[in-house]
Amino acid sequence: MSLAEKKQETMARHPFIAQFIDHSNSRDADGLPQWWSESRTDALQRLVTLDVPGPKDEEWKFLNLKSLYNATYLSEGAAATEADEAFVKERSIPEAKAATLVFSNGRFKPAASNVDGLGEGVRVTSWSELREAGDLDAVRDHVGIADFWEDDLFYNLNGANFEDGAVILVPRETVVEVPIHLLYVSDGSGERFAAHPRNVIVAGENAEVTVIEEYATSVDGEYFHNVVDEISLGANAEVRHVKVQRDSKEAQHVARNIITLESNSNYEATAVNLGAAFSRNDSYARFDGSSIECTLDGLVYIGGTQVSDTHTAIDHALPDSTSYQLQKVIVDDRAHSIFNGKIFVREDAQRIDSNQLNQNLLLSRRARVNTKPQLEIFADDVVCSHGATVGQLQDDQLFYLMTRGMDEERARSLLTYAFAAEVLEDIEVDSLRTRLEGLLMEQTTRN
């Protein structure tokens, strides 16, 4: 069967996939290096064989994605806008003044961005800028390096369509002193669009860098962010990664994060998911060495009819590593949160220390939580703990606060804030932490 015939078949099976095959085919292939063309073709080949995942698939249980699948989208190139200057200014992070990449509806905006004096050899740029400069080979070795999502629809939609996103390359023995801020601003006032950012973060041996990846909306509306992050840490490298997802509450946000870790490296991630009608955030951490430390923390705070789904997989292949995971979830109104945390400890991975805790707070009777911590251990000398709790605010705590003069609303707000704040405590960028704490306080007070 020819590709065109297969596309016909896919079209009949699912127009959601077919439209993104169309988007891909209409993209400019001029001057694309061969490796990129090939990876795009690979993704297209797989797309024609895939179906949209649904409730029958174990990894997609509990979800109803009709509103995502039944919509049609403009390609992000057709929805280009300039970033709202005042909005960018408002969201700027003082510490990252010298290292901010701004994207508007998925496209890099050099005029709104600023990268200055980050040290020799440090590249903080975008795919579009590298392409213009004919310098794409700089990123070649760091793309498509983990095949965990080879059969995943969204990973392949991104593979067939991505044209832009951040590229951060920190050479060996280099410490980037300031945090790097990736600000994805979306304007949802136009026709519904889909963007497929591909962010690449590479820290060489002994390198250190902090990246803040933020999704924000200047004008609410329906759009679809389909993100892939590829993050590689060389031996003894350190990467701190804070993701803040505040997409429009009418938008859809799907993200795949692939992290590969070499010996003695340390990856510390905090994912804060507040926005989007539906968000799905998956992380896969592969341990390619020993004595690695990996932290995947998360905070989800949703209300209304929002749905948020977090899937993580920490894959211990070799000995002497540590992983931590604290996932806190607050669900209000009729919102629904899903969590699945997999931890694999392979046969050769002895002396692993792995901690996982998922705590859920339900603020309303109609709020819903599904949680599934999942340990799969094939080694015998390991220390692993995992747990999940689902609860409401405690009456005795409320009473205690009220006997100290706080009214019930204030007491509820303070307890909700306290539940969530633990996840934010470890964020080292002061202004970001303060801002997120303020946001949290505001949200707890509003409810």
Binding site: F399, L401, M402, T403, A418
Partner: protein, 252 residues
């Protein structure tokens, strides 16, 4: 009069617990309410604070002339009524300093005074901590989390020192304290009681009354105050036990 309790009947669920309590407390007074376990003395303390588990079925409670049944727990607190808990509640994620500043500012607002910002409050609370001999390191810790029993009780008295209530009801604040901690806590209570406020000590043992001298001692059994007197009553109780009062009641 600060507090007036008249023929108070209270139940928890279907079970009657207080069966006609009468009590009057004036400014400048220290009252001790003593009684065996299950006599209802802790229930009385909680009912004064408006605990939702208890229902007042008849009788009345007035604080500075106001009908307490019309005030929620937080309104009672802002009006100057304070309850020190027998089992102080742990609140992970809220620092002691943040908690006390909010409580303090709620009271200040109710009094029509200016709120204190974190820096001003820090000075204020460090001063107050001396009263209960508490280490300032407890300011940064989550409220009562990983506090020893004695530290929790000191923390309650610290809150009393910060909030300066008109009426402080201390529910078995002495229980579980070693002698040094008891002295410190009692010293704190003494230094905080004055002519304009009053203290009601709910206690099982006479021990704390060696340090905090009550003007009145009341004995509670089976949901009623069955005997009142001066501090000699506490000494008699210590000598003869609660059975003595019960028997005396039975004989009467």
């Amino acid at each position: 009069m600060l507090l007036e309790v008249k023929d108070l009947h209270v139940r928890a669920g279907d079970e009657p617990i207080l069966k006609g309590v009468n009590l009057e407390v004036n400014a400048g007074e220290v009252h001790a309410i003593m009684g065996p376990n299950g006599s209802g003395k802790s229930t009385l303390a909680k009912v004064l604070a408006g605990h939702p588990a208890y229902e007042v079925t008849s009788g009345s409670l007035h604080f500075e002339g106001d009908d307490l049944s019309e005030l929620d727990t937080d309104e009672r607190a802002r009006a100057g009524l304070f309850l020190a808990f027998q089992y102080p509640v742990e609140i992970p994620g809220v620092s002691n300093a943040q908690f006390m500043r909010q409580a303090y500012n709620e009271r200040r607002k109710a009094q029509g005074k200016d709120e204190l910002d974190p820096l001003q409050f820090d000075d204020h609370i460090r001063e107050r901590m001396k009263i209960v001999d508490m280490d300032p390191k407890f300011l940064d810790r989550s409220v009562n989390v990983d506090f020893s029993g004695g530290e929790k009780k000191r923390n309650e008295i610290l809150q009393m020192a910060v909030l300066e209530p008109t009426l402080a009801v201390l529910d078995e604040t002495d229980s579980g304290l070693d002698i040094d901690a008891l002295r410190t806590v009692a010293g704190g209570i003494n230094s905080l009681s004055g002519e304009d406020n009053a203290v009601v000590l709910v206690t099982h043992y006479q021990r704390i009354l060696d340090y905090v001298k009550p003007d009145y001692v009341h004995v509670m059994t089976d949901g009623q105050i069955v005997k009142s007197g001066d501090k000699q009553l506490a000494i008699d109780l210590e000598e003869h036990g609660y059975d003595w009062v019960t028997e005396e009641q039975g004989a009467a």
